[in-house]
């Protein structure tokens, strides 16, 4: 268990627990299983998206196209459900995942093999993916009545008290945990982000690691695209608009360093949970939902300040600020 949580994450976890307890003391309804289960369902997409984003940030990259990828993959899955309602559900979900994976592959190939800066590449594909939704759907949206019944029913199914997206998020989180801690490729992601030169000397292929990170990010976005569209019962070009920044915020709160090489599954999940709680607790506390954005902003800033203090090392230099400049 020592590897599962570090000191920082324990602090974050205790802040979360205290927060939940305080909200519960004020409004006991918040602690009812139904509410907690709803909150987890609502946050399940963010859990998975944040983990996938973490994998990219570990390699010193960033993927701004995830929300657009989610929307495009979700639209494609919805269109398949609309026009081929007879094919099995698994294939529909697979459509979303494969679509997302191919979009991620496109990002990864150009970033890893042409050396295009990730922020530029994914900014470009963000615009392209959003536009493609309009093109493939002919400018229309797919409504709940046009999607298949099974397509929409799956995310609402409850097993053992939790909805299926939560179980999927748990399974995905476990996979990420095993992958990042116990596989060669997973450790390679940390190595490439932590010190690319040392990683190269160890025989780790940086380009393959980067490609892998963006493919993973894309595939997860595709899966989440299906879940999003099926759960909310509508697919159109603007779904999850701006969500990429929420996902990155979850990573930052969870202690993932934007400079690469630092981040854990547990921390990222806690960061996503934090945002999930903020979103669901406000209505319970009868605070206007307009507070949500301001609170997330303040939390992100607090988290980066705390992270930066934790990372500071007490060594001496001629010009102390010069070392930090190098890290930029």
């Amino acid at each position: 268990m020592k590897g599962l949580f570090n000191y920082r994450e324990l602090i974050l976890a205790s802040i979360l627990l205290v927060g939940i307890a305080a909200i519960g003391a004020y409004q006991p309804a918040f602690l009812r299983w139904g509410n907690i289960s709803d909150m987890l369902t609502e946050t399940s997409v963010l859990f998975m998206m944040a983990l996938a984003q973490m994998v990219v940030i570990l390699t010193r990259g960033i993927d701004l196209s995830v929300a657009a990828n989610l929307a495009l993959s979700g639209m494609l899955a919805a269109l398949v459900s609309q026009y081929y309602p007879e094919i099995p559900l698994v294939l529909m979900i697979l459509t979303g995942v494969v679509c997302g994976l191919i979009l991620g592959l496109f990002n990864g190939l150009l970033i890893a093999f042409l050396g295009i800066p990730p922020i530029v590449m994914t900014l470009g594909t963000l615009a392209i993916f959003r536009g493609l939704i309009i093109i493939i759907a002919g400018g229309d949206q797919v409504n709940a009545s046009e999607m298949g019944a099974a397509f929409q029913a799956f995310p609402k199914q409850i097993f053992l008290g939790l909805a299926s997206p939560v179980w999927i998020a748990i399974a995905v989180s476990l996979l990420f945990w095993i992958f990042l801690n116990y596989t060669r490729a997973g450790r390679g992601l940390y190595a490439v982000g932590g010190n690319p030169v040392a990683a190269r000397y160890c025989g780790i292929d940086q380009r393959r690691q980067e490609l892998l990170a963006y493919v993973i990010s894309g595939a997860v976005a595709g899966l989440c695209g299906y879940l999003w569209v099926a759960r909310y019962g509508v697919a159109y070009s603007e779904i999850a608009s701006g969500y990429e920044l929420t996902v990155i915020a979850a990573c930052v709160i969870g202690g993932v360093s934007i400079g690469g090489g630092v981040g854990s599954v547990a921390g990222t999940l806690l960061g996503a949970l934090f945002l999930g709680i903020v979103m669901t607790a406000l209505p319970v506390l009868q605070i206007s939902p307009f507070w949500q954005m301001a609170i997330s902003g303040a939390v992100i800033l607090a988290a980066v300040v705390i992270n930066a203090r934790a990372e500071r090392r007490p060594d001496k230099l001629i010009l102390p600020e010069a070392r930090r400049l190098r890290r930029v």
Binding site: I62, L114, G124, A127, I135, L245, L319, E321, A322, L325
Partner: protein, 350 residues
């Protein structure tokens, strides 16, 4: 001195002169590529639509991108020194809200513009302080302040809108600042120029002079190329970076004032998503995200290319999101194609 015996090198290192510029170097300059793109855009649009080359249409087209373009100038300097400001659109919203309240309190146009720029200044100083004092990566800080600034706007404004503004203020945003003046000769005339575009042009000249003709400009390039070396050379790195965030905030506030005057109303979602449009302008303008490379001329050309492409496509009833496919592809293509050429080209062994 005997000219026949070669003089042995005294230094350990031999620094060669830069090789002379060849035609290819000039043609492959980013600005030249952008000029070609700009000409191509104008030619294609003129052929496709007879309404494209109309002075009034073109003047109206500038309304749609001038506010973003003003912010892009500051963003270019930030990206040049390896920073980024993703909170600009949120500052636009916060400034626009302040202007809304100031207008209700009876401020005149000058006071309203000052309010916007002042709020922007405070926001920019907050960003700059977090980035320099706490030494935090600006991309994370400005994602945070983006949420914070827009969040404050949402908290204060809720689902309300601000719609009461003095007429003189609205006139500044909605009419041409310089009116059309014809002379006797048909091709010689003063074109109509909206205030926002005029401000953009003036600021572009100013930024260009500062960046390319002053010591401070050279210092910015130095910071972008190597912040540590720049610091050791005595350049006040943090002071300059702080200043750039303040400038970015002020220009965002100014853009917020222009946008409010043009729209005549504001809601908390005003300018959503602008930050990415602005970053696109800057990167297409040839400013390297790795820092140390870029020119104001490039950014201005990129602004014009993007603006005219969008305008031309909207003339032909192409929906905005399809335009964004084109712009995204353009962004990737201009960066990818030189790299592909570089890989394919067989270099002679030296």
């Amino acid at each position: 001195m005997n000219m026949d015996t070669p003089v042995p090198p005294v230094d350990r290192y031999i620094v060669l002169d830069a090789p002379p510029r060849r035609l290819r170097d000039v043609l492959l300059r980013w600005e030249v590529i952008l000029v070609i793109l700009l000409v191509a855009t104008i030619v294609v649009n003129t052929i496709v639509s007879p309404y494209f080359l109309d002075v009034f249409n073109l003047a109206d087209a500038t309304f749609n991108f001038s506010e973003k373009a003003i912010i892009a100038l500051a963003m270019a300097l930030l990206i040049l020194v390896r920073e980024i400001d993703l909170s600009v659109a949120a500052i636009v919203a916060l400034a626009a809200m302040g202007i809304g309240y100031a207008a209700e309190a009876g401020f005149g146009p000058v006071g309203l513009f000052a309010t916007g720029i002042g709020i922007g200044l405070l926001c920019g100083a907050f960003n700059g302080m977090l980035v320099t004092w706490f030494s935090l990566p600006s991309i994370v800080v400005t994602i945070g302040t983006m949420s914070l600034f827009r969040g404050i706007t949402q908290v204060i404004l809720g689902d309300q809108a601000k719609t009461k503004y003095p007429q003189e203020f609205l006139d500044l945003g909605q009419s041409y600042f310089i009116k059309m003046k014809e002379t006797g000769i048909s091709w010689l005339f003063v074109p109509p120029v909206p205030l926002s575009f005029l401000i953009f042009l003036v600021l572009a000249v100013l930024f260009g002079l500062v960046l390319h003709k002053t010591a401070v400009g050279r210092q910015l390039f130095a910071i972008g190329s190597n912040p540590v070396a720049a610091r050791f050379s005595g350049i006040p790195v943090d002071k300059l970076r702080f200043l750039l965030f303040v400038v970015s905030g002020m220009l965002s506030g100014l853009a917020g004032a222009l946008l409010t005057a043009r729209l005549g109303s504001m809601r908390s979602n005003i300018g959503v998503g602008w930050e990415l449009d602005i970053v696109t302008m800057v990167i297409l303008g040839g400013v390297s995200i790795a820092g140390g490379v870029g020119s104001i001329l490039g950014v201005v050309l990129a602004v014009l290319v993007l603006g005219l492409v969008t305008f031309g496509m909207s003339l032909n009833n192409i929906p905005g999101q399809v335009v964004s496919v084109y712009i995204g592809a353009l962004l990737i293509a201009v960066i990818a194609i030189p790299r592909i050429l570089d890989k394919v080209r067989v270099r002679p062994i030296r």
